[in-house]
């Protein structure tokens, strides 16, 4: 269920690294918690993000949540499709529902994030609370 080829932050963002570029979005667990996503606010191309920075917000029908950068990097691409179809975050969180791509500035941060198995354990604990 949780893709093995990505890494995960406690704030429920994933980063999928290919070369020096990381694709960032929110996890399937996070989209389920939020419910129907109706609006995603993302940073502009060129924005420098530090790990943990607020990089935008996501509105579902019932609530708003902040988005945090799981890694440091410069935004090189933003998923414009989400402007018209924010529901892609619900239907394909790890695929077409991606949010931004960053050029990693501190690649070693990726290794400190959770892997799929660790993230699933983390989610189970959170859900049990």
């Amino acid at each position: 269920m949780t893709p093995e080829d990505s890494r995960y932050a406690k704030s429920h963002e994933y980063v999928h690294v290919e070369g020096e570029v990381g694709t960032i979005g929110i996890t399937d667990y996070a989209q389920k918690e939020l419910g129907d996503v109706v609006f995603v606010e993302l940073p502009q191309v060129g924005t420098e993000l530090e790990q943990g920075d607020e990089m935008g917000s996501i509105e579902s029908v019932k609530a708003v949540s902040e988005l945090f950068a799981p890694v440091s990097g410069q935004v090189v691409e933003v998923n414009d499709a989400l402007t018209e179809k924010p529901e892609l975050v619900n239907t394909d969180a790890y695929g077409d529902g991606w949010m931004i791509r960053v050029k990693l500035t501190t690649p070693e941060e990726v290794d400190e994030l959770m892997d799929a198995e660790e993230y699933e354990e983390y989610v189970e604990k959170e859900a049990g609370k």
């Binding site: 419910g35 129907d36 609006f39 917000s57 509105e59």
Partner: protein
């Protein structure tokens, strides 16, 4: 997710079974959604949805001075009710602030069934008891004696009629009857909190689960609090705790149609009389966003660095597919078309007052 400190309705186990995403709603464990808020919302607008509203409170007001008590404690004219009719009303403090917004059902001339908000039921009961001092009337909190199901949507009558001996086709809006639903005693009323046609069904708690399953089994979409909120907001129905509370009067809340000054004295009448003559200092209005974003409950409305109003409810409207909301604005800035700025997480965003309700059901369906 089982939280032992939360109160549970008789339908709690079924809601878990049906995959309800449970939340704490004013001390009650209730589903915010089953499959998704938008999907459930559309089901109610186009077909039918079923809500568990058993958390709502029921208070019985009976006796020779039952009418006198209700006339004293509320702002609408309860004397206009006939047997089998229900009325939306405001239970008020002497300040004209809301104790609660309520439904009053007249069972008989000396027998009223009052339906109140879950979180307010103890407070309402105590307030009515206080108001009843020295009067020949019995006030009983019967909240634990009823499960309440709300079947809402254009197909509601078609779905419910085969299950009940009450003739629904002749039942008009805000009328009710006692009869049987699926073989058990029930009160069926043509009321709801969605802006659609529909019914609210009161049965004994022990009968609730079977009836809920039966109606869902007939193809009705189980719905949660999330859709209930978006539906009521599109219909501009007030939510206690959001849009109205002890600090707001019915005239401020744009509920002038439930204020009947001519009925005689009642709690808060002098305040309302003055507000009616001079205009309330603020008014609850509907708005749409011009800029992007959703303005939600509690977000301030600002002008030149000053807070001039507040958003009381806000969401994405699944029907209109855009952000809508309700807000208190100064009376002179409350006309449709007036633009204002709301502070969304530190950033000012433009919004516009619009006529309400945001959604009205098609005429041929209304009665």
């Amino acid at each position: 997710m089982a939280d032992e400190s939360l109160k549970k309705t008789p339908l709690n186990a079924i809601e878990h079974e049906l995959g309800g995403k449970m939340i704490d709603f004013g001390g009650w464990e209730l589903p915010v959604q089953f499959t998704g808020i938008i999907e459930e919302h559309q089901a109610v607008r186009t077909r039918a949805g079923l809500f568990d509203v058993s958390h709502m409170g029921e208070i019985l007001v009976r006796g020779a001075e039952a009418l006198a008590l209700l006339q004293k404690a509320t702002c609408n004219d309860v004397s206009k009710l006939e047997d089998g009719r229900a009325q939306y009303n405001g239970l008020l403090y002497p300040t004209a602030g809301f104790v609660d917004d309520i439904l009053v059902y007249r069972m008989a001339g000396d027998d009223y069934f009052v339906v109140v908000n879950a979180a307010n039921s103890d407070k309402d009961y105590e307030w009515l008891v206080e108001c009843a001092k020295g009067m020949d009337v019995a006030v009983t909190n019967a909240s634990a004696d009823y499960a309440q199901l709300a079947l809402q949507g254009p197909n509601a009558e078609k779905i419910l009629q085969p299950l009940t001996d009450v003739d629904l086709s002749s039942m008009k809006y805000y009328r009710f009857a006692r009869g049987k639903v699926d073989g058990v005693p029930a009160i069926v009323s043509r009321t709801g909190y969605t802006g659609e046609d529909g019914f609210e069904i009161y049965v004994s708690p022990s009968e609730g689960p079977r009836l809920f399953k039966k109606i869902v089994g007939a193809g009705v979409t189980p719905c949660g609090l999330g859709a209930r909120d978006t539906l009521r907001l599109e219909a501009k129905m007030a939510l206690y705790g959001n849009d109205i509370d002890h600090s707001t009067t019915p005239l401020e809340a744009d509920l002038g149609w439930i204020v009947k000054l001519e009925k005689g004295d009642f709690m808060g009448r002098d305040v309302l009389e003055r507000e009616r003559a001079e205009g309330p200092r603020r008014k609850l209005v509907g708005f749409e966003m011009i800029d992007r974003g959703i303005a939600r409950h509690g977000y301030p409305i600002v002008e030149g660095g000053e807070e001039i109003g507040v958003v009381t409810s806000g969401t994405h409207s699944p029907t209109l597919k855009k952000p809508i909301g309700l807000a208190y604005l100064p009376l002179d800035k409350s006309a449709p078309g007036t633009e204002f700025n709301v502070l969304i997480r530190g950033k000012e965003a433009r919004a516009r007052v619009v006529p309400t309700p945001f959604y009205k059901r098609p005429k041929e369906q209304s009665r």
